[in-house]
Structures are given as structure tokens and as C-alpha cells.
């Protein structure tokens, strides 16, 4: 199959050999689980169990709120110890509403929904099941998958793309999944195709994963509708819009979606989760996590319950040989630094990394020498150095004018910069500021509108008052006049000189 060129991209040092050949190990149930109620993009889920409740494995513990949201299920059986704020796996370490569960070790399943009959199930039934199972995009974006499986209703879709690129260095969880759970993953892909109503699916795998490619190809050898495709190992190949461009040659318009091109992209791990939900009624309560980095004693891939503290996962991997220079959740390019080791694994966590100095190659920041390496690698066609220099001078609007909002924060520019300038940091800062400005502007507009409305109202009130006053005055005037008349009459009557009035009265 023809693979189209994508603009830019960096050839990264993959460092996947640390874990690429190791079988997935199932992590034992940890002593404690911290299950955040928001693990997805969209509205947080709402807890439906209470402190002290005994809950079962797979039981719904928080329901989704709103259109874009996802429910949360219990990863094992045990007692709810606490529902309250707990640090999220996010650099801020800001607290999110989290359910703390003390497992009882029985691992007792709740009653699960019946498996769907894939032959007779409708699109809507599949999407509903996926939605009820709390499945979100497992490549890290954590967008509720059901929403993306329902796109067939609004778009004319042609193709499902399964993202098995796994372009982040170190991570091998998707690689191992495709090798060890090939059949189930492919079954999940077929379910997704059915839900979307598309005739064909492409599974894109970067060329640095030949074993996964072979396994998937063998599985699909008799299936003409699913093709396994090698894409070049060039970061950020796993970026949805770039992957679609590499596979179809078509470019998703800015502010648009790949669905505009008739293509929907799902992560390969999501396909497996869909299989579990549809064929076994099992909700998303665990995922494969790559634990890696030079500091980790026994790197590996672990099937981990959602909510497992990172510390348990690291202990499982033999602990650390040294104090890590950096602890990360996700890959080294776009992953998030961890505020501490207590934070839990969530649905979007593909990796836990502990890196040392040599791996990070952190060096002094030098002035930009304008070498243009960042321009060459930028997959979006931006001028990172230009944007950075504007942002450095607080010209956030200038950076906006040259496209900083189109930046996907992939970090390619930052990776190649010989002056080690924290470019992504600049861009994220600018994006934050621009968002703030937007909100301010919207608030101001709203204020202005309210003020205008009020002025209008005031004016109306004023007018009404005036009219009232005028009425009253007129009334008073009329009254006064009448009084004068009657007074005069009285006077006349009294004096008996006003004949006219007498005449009138007569």
C-alpha cells in the first residue's frame, strides 16, 4: 500500500528494546486503589456509591454526566474508604474527586451485562455498550470512545484506522497487546467497523514493531477488509491527523476532524477494550502499562488495575536503582511529570517512566541560533523559533497570528533544538494565555451585553416612568382644571354673577 509523506517529523531514539520482548505480566491487586472520577476529556463522572459501601469488581461506581463523559467502574471488589479530593496524575498535582477503594482480595465480579450478539447488534447497541463500559481513547487522549463510534450517524465514513503506531519512545504496551492478544484485538476492530458502518479498516503499525505486524497480519490473512500497514517510525506518526495523512494522503482541515475525510481513528488498545465490553460485558477496569527507564530495575509491561498507585507499579518492577531525574506518566515526548508516587494509573496511562540524567540529556539553554531544525521537523508547518521569540517578548497575540494555536505540542522542535530551548513550554504558556484572553473577552462581551440590556431596560423604565408622570401630570392638570371650574362655579354660585354657568347647569 502506498504510504504518503507527512511534513516534518523527527526520527527518535526509540529505546523500546528495554521492554519490547517481555511478556505482559498481570499485576497483583494492590493494597489500595485511588480511582479518579474524571479520567477522560469531558464532564467528570458522578459517584453513585457511598463511603463504607462494599462494591464488586466491574460494578458501576460513577455515572457519566452529559454528552461527553464516561462512567467509572470498580476494578476489584472491596470497601469504599473515602470519596474525596486526591492528587491527580497531572503535573499540577491538583486534587480531583477520587474514590479510594480498599480491595478485599476476593476479586468478586458483579453481575455483568450479557454479551452482545455481534451478528444482530445494531450500531447504536454497540456504541451504547461501549459508552456504558467506560471506554475512552487509550492512546492518551482519553476522549470517550462511544462518541467516536457514533460518528457514522453524522458523517459519511469510509474507513476505520486503528492506531498501533505507538510513536512515543519507551512505550511497548500496544506492541505487546498486538502480539499477545491478537485475536481479541482483531475481534474488537471488527466490532468497531460494524458500529461505524465502514467496509474497511487499516491497522497502522510503525516499522519498528515487526513482530506485532507479523502477528496482526497472520490474524487478518483471510480478511480482505482489514489491512495491516507499516508506517515509517517517524514521530509524531501516531498523531491522528498525521496518521490519516500518511495513510490516505488527505489533510484534515484546521479546526476539522478526520471524520470530515470519512476516516475515524481509534487506538489499538481501545479495540481490545471494546472486545472485552462487547463479548464479555466487562467494563474498562484495567490496562497494560509499560514501566520503563534506566532507573527501573525490571522494566516491563504490566496489566494494571485502574487506580493502582504508581508506587505499587514501580515496586512490582523491582523498584528503582537510583533517584530518578524525572518521573513521568506517558511517553517522554508528551507525557506528564508526576507530582509524586501516590498518584494512580488511569485509563489513558500507557507508561510510567523513571528517567535518569543520561537519558534526558538535559543541558544549559543557549540563545537561539536560528538553525531552523525546528522548522524542518515541525509536523504542522509552523516556525517554532519565531513563535518562541515572540512569546519570550510577551507578544502572545503575535504568536497567535503565526499559528501557535495549531501547535499540537508534540515536542519534535524541542527534541531537536541544539540550543535546548524549552519551546513546548513557551507554546503551552501562550496557549494558556490565549485561552484566558478568550474567556476574558467572552466575559467582557457578556458584561457588555448585560449592561446594554440593562440600559435598555432602564430606558424603558424611564420611559414608562415619564409616561406615568406625564399621565399623572395630565391627570393632575385635568383635576386642577376641574377643581378650578368647580371652584369658579362655587364662587359664581356664591356670588350669583356667572350667568353662563348657570345657563350650562340649566
Amino acid at each position: 500500500m502506498e504510504i504518503f509523506n507527512i511534513h516534518g517529523g523527527a526520527k527518535l531514539d526509540g529505546r523500546k528494546s528495554l521492554t519490547a520482548d517481555l511478556d505482559i505480566i498481570t499485576m497483583p491487586i494492590p493494597d489500595i486503589l485511588h480511582i479518579p472520577l474524571q479520567q477522560h476529556i469531558g464532564a467528570p463522572a458522578e459517584a453513585i456509591v457511598n463511603h463504607g459501601d462494599r462494591i464488586l469488581k466491574g460494578q458501576l461506581i460513577a455515572t457519566s454526566k452529559g454528552l461527553i463523559s464516561a462512567p467509572v467502574h470498580s476494578p476489584t471488589s472491596g470497601t469504599v474508604k473515602r470519596i474525596g479530593d486526591f492528587p491527580a496524575p497531572h503535573p499540577s498535582g491538583l486534587p480531583v474527586l477520587t474514590l479510594t477503594l480498599e480491595p478485599d482480595g476476593l476479586d468478586e465480579w458483579a453481575k455483568l451485562p450479557e454479551p452482545l450478539n455481534i451478528e444482530t447488534a445494531t450500531s447504536q447497541e454497540i456504541a451504547d455498550r461501549v459508552s456504558q463500559s467506560g471506554i475512552v481513547g487509550m492512546g492518551g487522549a482519553t476522549f470517550p470512545s462511544a462518541v467516536k463510534l457514533n460518528l457514522g450517524q453524522r458523517y459519511k465514513l469510509e474507513m476505520l484506522v486503528i492506531n498501533g503506531a505507538e510513536c512515543e519512545p519507551y512505550l511497548t504496551c500496544d506492541d505487546r497487546l498486538m502480539q499477545e492478544r491478537t485475536e481479541k484485538t482483531v475481534m474488537g476492530i471488527k466490532v468497531m467497523m460494524k458500529a461505524l458502518g465502514v467496509p474497511k479498516a487499516l491497522v497502522a503499525i510503525e516499522s519498528n514493531k515487526p513482530n506485532a505486524f507479523k502477528a496482526m497480519e497472520k490474524e487478518c490473512i483471510h480478511d480482505d477488509n482489514i489491512s495491516i500497514v507499516h508506517v515509517p517510525a517517524r514521530y509524531p506518526m501516531g498523531s491522528e491527523k498525521h496518521l490519516v495523512q500518511a495513510l490516505t494522503g488527505k489533510e484534515t482541515p484546521a479546526k476539522g476532524m478526520t471524520a470530515d475525510l470519512g476516516v475515524v481513528v481509534h487506538n489499538v488498545a481501545t479495540a481490545f477494550a471494546v472486545y472485552e465490553a462487547v463479548y464479555h460485558g466487562r467494563p474498562l477496569i484495567s490496562r497494560i502499562v509499560t514501566v520503563s527507564g534506566q532507573v527501573i530495575k525490571k522494566p516491563g509491561n504490566y496489566e494494571t488495575l485502574i487506580g493502582t498507585p504508581v508506587s505499587s507499579l514501580i515496586n512490582m518492577s523491582g523498584g528503582m536503582t537510583d533517584t530518578p531525574k524525572q518521573l513521568l506518566m506517558g511517553g517522554p515526548m508528551m507525557g506528564q511529570p508526576l507530582p509524586n508516587l501516590d498518584v494512580p494509573v488511569i485509563k489513558g496511562s500507557g507508561g510510567v517512566l523513571a528517567l535518569n540524567d543520561t537519558e534526558m540529556k538535559d543541558k544549559n539553554v543557549m540563545p537561539c541560533i536560528g538553525c531552523g531544525s525546528c522548522v524542518m521537523v515541525c509536523p504542522v508547518g509552523l516556525l517554532p523559533l519565531d513563535m518562541a521569540s515572540r512569546i519570550e517578548h510577551e507578544d502572545v497575540d503575535g504568536a497567535d497570528g503565526i499559528g501557535v494555536r495549531d501547535c499540537v505540542s508534540c515536542g519534535s522542535c524541542n527534541y531537536v533544538c541544539p540550543s535546548h530551548i524549552p519551546l513546548v513550554q513557551y507554546f503551552n504558556y501562550a496557549k494558556g494565555r490565549l485561552k484566558e484572553q478568550d474567556i476574558d473577552r467572552r466575559n467582557q462581551d457578556r458584561m457588555k451585553m448585560l449592561a446594554q440590556n440593562r440600559a435598555l431596560r432602564d430606558e424603558k423604565t424611564q420611559l414608562a416612568l415619564e409616561r406615568k408622570r406625564a399621565d399623572r401630570e395630565a391627570y393632575n392638570a385635568a383635576l386642577a382644571k376641574m377643581q378650578t371650574i368647580s371652584n369658579t362655579t362655587k364662587e359664581n354660585n356664591n356670588t350669583g354673577h356667572n350667568t353662563t354657568n348657570e345657563m350650562d347647569i340649566k
Partner: protein
Amino acid sequence: MTQIPPMSGPYMRKNKSVRRSMLIVMAALTPATAYGFYLFGWPSIILFSITLGSALIFEVICLLLAKRSVSMFALDGSAILTAWLLAISLPPWAPWWIAVVGSAIAIIIGKQVFGGLGQNVFNPAMVARVALLISFPLEMTTYMQPLPLFSDAAPTFMDSVAIVFGMGNFDAVSSASLLGTIKTDLGQGMALGEIMDGRYAPMDWILGNSISSIGEGSALLLIVGGIALIFGRIITWYIPVSTIVALVFIATIFNIIDPGKYPDAMVHVFSGATILAAFFIATDPVTSPMSPKGQIVFGIGLGLLVYIIRTWAAYPEGVSFAILLMNAMTPLIDRYVRPRIFGRTQKGAPLNLSEKS
């Protein structure tokens, strides 16, 4: 709770640094420079050392005055590289003070006054070269016939010290460069064929066995170094190729129009500083455009300007002037020549799917 510095990813980097890039450029310049040393002997080596040494001293002084980190910036290689490029574009037997004044202009006026590394608008080495050329035309245009090191006629080390410091009288055949000769003789009404008689030796120009500055003589070694830089991803091909193509294009057109007056493209490309400039000076990242398209515009402009200045202006060696002019154009090019953003038209509007299909 652990304190996290407010830093975004990525948390790994390519093994690149400013110093590494500078060192690689120097390494790529080494063969041509070494060959220049061989051709022009000890005086050129001494001159080269003085240029580099004085440049480093000026750099340190400036950094101290500006209260910037000497350890971080003085050894980033940029001052040395600037001085290197200046030195190899000097006539081989120029006096010592040319080197010192040149270094001072390059480092102080060309670079540090603008704010140091990465801030300068003009290529510092070319600022110095042009300033020297205008101020000291005699010293800057007196070239030597090559007297290879270890040959009988070559000056000894002590002779060379005397030559560079203007103390001795050493017999050597001084001469103008080929482009200089063509300019003067054409001006005196000689025909090009007459002037070129016995001087048209492309093989010598390519190999470097000709009258030239210290390091710009051997086109072959410079091209080898330049191509190594392209493959080492230190520079891109856009500027060298577009410069040379533009120069060849315009030279060929005029050569076809009037061969008696306009030398052919071989002369323009392989004689003088064209190759050195195209691969090593015009590609200076600081003073050239950021985007590939911008770099091509820059290269074409450079090639044309080199020809125009050499042919119709007062200076036969037009390269350094052309580079400064294009440096001045760089911000303008960067403003108007930009890559297209993903999912948008060149003008920045989102792509329209229905229009396209």
C-alpha cells in the same frame, strides 16, 4: 509533595548542541584550510592563529563587560568559527594588524554589539571582511602566488614571522586575484579572451592551486566539507544549491550574450569565494532565513547579487557584499515566506474540502 519545576516535555533530546554544530563546521573546514596552509606556508598559519587568538580575547572581554557567562559562551565555538571564516578569507600574507582589526570588527561590532550569539543581523566575518576591504584596499587585495610549504622558495618560519609583522623583505610574486585582474583589465579595454589567455585553468581553481585567500582556493575540498555538513544535517542544501544555480544561470546567460565581455560560469563558481560562501558563510543559521522556502529565496538573491556586484560594481570580489545585503533582506524574507500550516491554505484559512475535490 515534591516540587516540580514548571516544565513541559519532551523529556528527552537529540544529542545536539551549539558547540557541537560549530565544531562540526570547523571540522568540515579543516581540509580546505589545511590545504591553504600548505599552499601559502607559514605566513598564512601565523595569520590564522592571530585571527583566532585575538577573536577569542575580544569575545572574552565583551562577555566580561556584558557580565555574561564566559565559560558558557566563550567556548561555544561561535567566536572561533567566525574568526576562522574571516581568517581564511584574508589574503595569505596580510599583515598581523589586518587580522587583529578584522577580529575586533567581527566580534565587537559584528556580533557582541547586537547582543552576542544568535542576535546579530549580519554575518560577523563578512562585516569584518567588508570593513577591511573598504578601509585597507591595498592590503586586502594583494594576493600571492602559492609557495607551498617545504618547497625551496617558501619562507621559513622566521621569515614568515617577519613577513606577518612587516619587518622583513621577502621576495615573492604578488598579484591580484583572477576576478580582480579581469575587472582591471576589462576596464582598460582588453578583451576577455586576451585576459584569460593562460589564466583559464578550471582544474587549478577546483583543486585550489591558484591565487586566492587562505582557504577559499580549493573548491573541491570545500565542496567535500560542505556536502559532509549537509549529510551531517548541520546545514541544508537549499542555500548552497540555490546560490550556485542562480549564479550559473545568470553567468551563462550573459556569457552567451557577449562571451568577449562576460566570463563563463566556471570562472564565477570556482574562482573567488563562491563555494566557501555558498556552503559555509551564507548558511550561517543566525543570518539566513528560517524556512526552506525562505532559504531558497535567499540563495537565489545571493547568487544574482554576487554576479551583479562582480560584474558591474567597483569590487571584483562581490561575495561578501552580496552576503551582507542578503542578511539585511532576511527578516523581510522571513516575514513573507512561510511554510504552509497543516490543514490550512498558504494564507492561513482552513482547507476547504469541497473546493479541493
